[in-house]
Amino acid sequence: MADPNNDYPTVIGPDASFKGELKFQKGMRLLGKFEGEIDSKGDLLIAEGASLSGDVKAGTVKIDGVMTGNLEATGKVKLSASAHLEGDMRTARLEVADGAMFSGHVVVGAKDGASKTNGQSASSAPKGKPTPTPEPAVAGKR
């Protein structure tokens, strides 16, 4: 059983409203209102009835409430049936349940893919022959 208190030690309660920039390590559970920016590697849970407006960078994001703003997640973004999201999204995985409302530009997997391909090319380049060497050989063949 996943314990929300363990997974999301930071909690903004249902009667609380926060305005500003927030950083956290492990995870945050938003039950109230949040206005501002979140920049974290941890997980974020926007509970039903909660609202968040602003840009978010996080690991895994689960939305049950309302969010307005751009979202960037390194992990998975999950929108439940009660979720409402307006804004652009960039994530590695995405799941939108039936009943959720979402509108915005989505990029899934491109950034990771790009980084992976870059990483692969960067890693493969030193292993193989350097790139400039084949070019003169090809030119010589001609």
């Binding site: 929108l79 999204m89 590695a92 995985r93 995405l94 799941e95 939108v96 349940a97 039936d98 009943g99 959720a100 409302m101 979402f102 509108s103 915005g104 530009h105 989505v106 990029v107 899934v108 997997g109 491109a110 893919g113």
Partner: protein, 276 residues
């Protein structure tokens, strides 16, 4: 006692429906399903095995087949009420309209799905997407504008094509209602009586979808009716006048109960009659 019980049991058994008449495969009932038109969105009840039908609302052809795209095919687009599956080697560079969509290959185009869209780890989707639910798993690629809305908003809306077909019947039905209403308010306004009796117009706006053409027709009819029913209205005026004059003075209480407009109208009628 035993014999009686046995009889009663037997009797009870005899009352039960005989299961012998039911065929082995069960009763053959026409299996149907409900699909939404890809053109107008109207719901159609179709046979489960049907491959294509004509929409009952917009009369356009609907394809009900499921598409499995295993390779590239040069098509303008896929529009079906069934499901579309783009396989691993499949490639689509065209708009897709379907019930649900599974992308294992590559899709490059506008996607409109009434159900679920799933992009698997080998899949790539590029283009705007409209759906009710979406799953993009790890490794899949998706780039484009996305709009996810629940089914209720995407499905049923009053369609203009849907309303054109039964428009005449609906007008007729409302017209009868209109006549009833007019008969109740006949003592109130003579001009409306004249026009409404001739035209059988409905007094309230029951259907806001009445077309301009119908309005024009109604207007034309009004003009024609006014001409034809002026005599009628005169006769009615006279009768109404008689009725109003015949009423004794003792019935003042009833007259007081009635709205003031009747008096005013009766005077108006008198004036109109006098002028004529």
């Amino acid at each position: 006692m035993r014999s009686q019980e046995a009889r009663s049991r037997g009797g009870a058994r005899a009352k039960l429906p005989n299961p012998g008449w039911i065929p082995v495969g069960g009763l053959r009932t026409a299996k149907t399903k409900i699909v939404n038109c890809t053109h107008c969105g109207g719901a159609n009840e179709v046979a489960a095995r049907a491959m294509s039908v004509f929409c009952a609302h917009c009369r356009k052809r609907l394809i009900l087949e499921n598409y499995v795209i295993k390779s590239y095919q040069a098509v303008k687009g896929y529009a079906t009420c069934g499901d579309v599956s783009v396989e691993k080697r499949g490639r689509v560079a065209a708009p897709i309209q379907s019930n649900s969509l599974t992308v294992k290959g590559t899709v490059n185009g506008k996607v409109e799905a009434r159900g679920k869209v799933e992009v698997t780890s080998t899949g790539s989707l590029e283009g705007s997407l409209k759906a009710t639910s979406l799953i993009v798993v790890q490794g899949a690629k998706f780039d484009g504008y996305c709009e996810i809305r629940p089914t209720s908003s995407t499905v049923e809306e009053p369609k203009p094509a849907q309303l054109t077909a039964p428009a005449s019947s609906s007008v007729r039905s409302t017209s009868s209602n209109g006549v009833k209403k007019i008969s109740t308010t006949s003592a109130i306004n003579k001009t409306t009586i004249a026009t409404a009796d001739a035209l059988e117009l409905e007094s309230p706006k029951k259907k806001p979808t009445a077309k301009k053409s119908t309005k024009k027709k109604v207007a034309a009819k009004k003009v024609a009716a006014k001409k034809t029913t002026t005599k009628k209205s005169d006769a009615e005026n006279e009768t109404v006048k008689k009725v109003t004059t015949r009423k004794p003075a003792g019935s003042e209480s009833t007259a007081a109960d009635k709205p003031k407009t009747i008096k005013a109208i009766s005077t108006r009628r008198k004036s109109t009659v006098a002028s004529k």
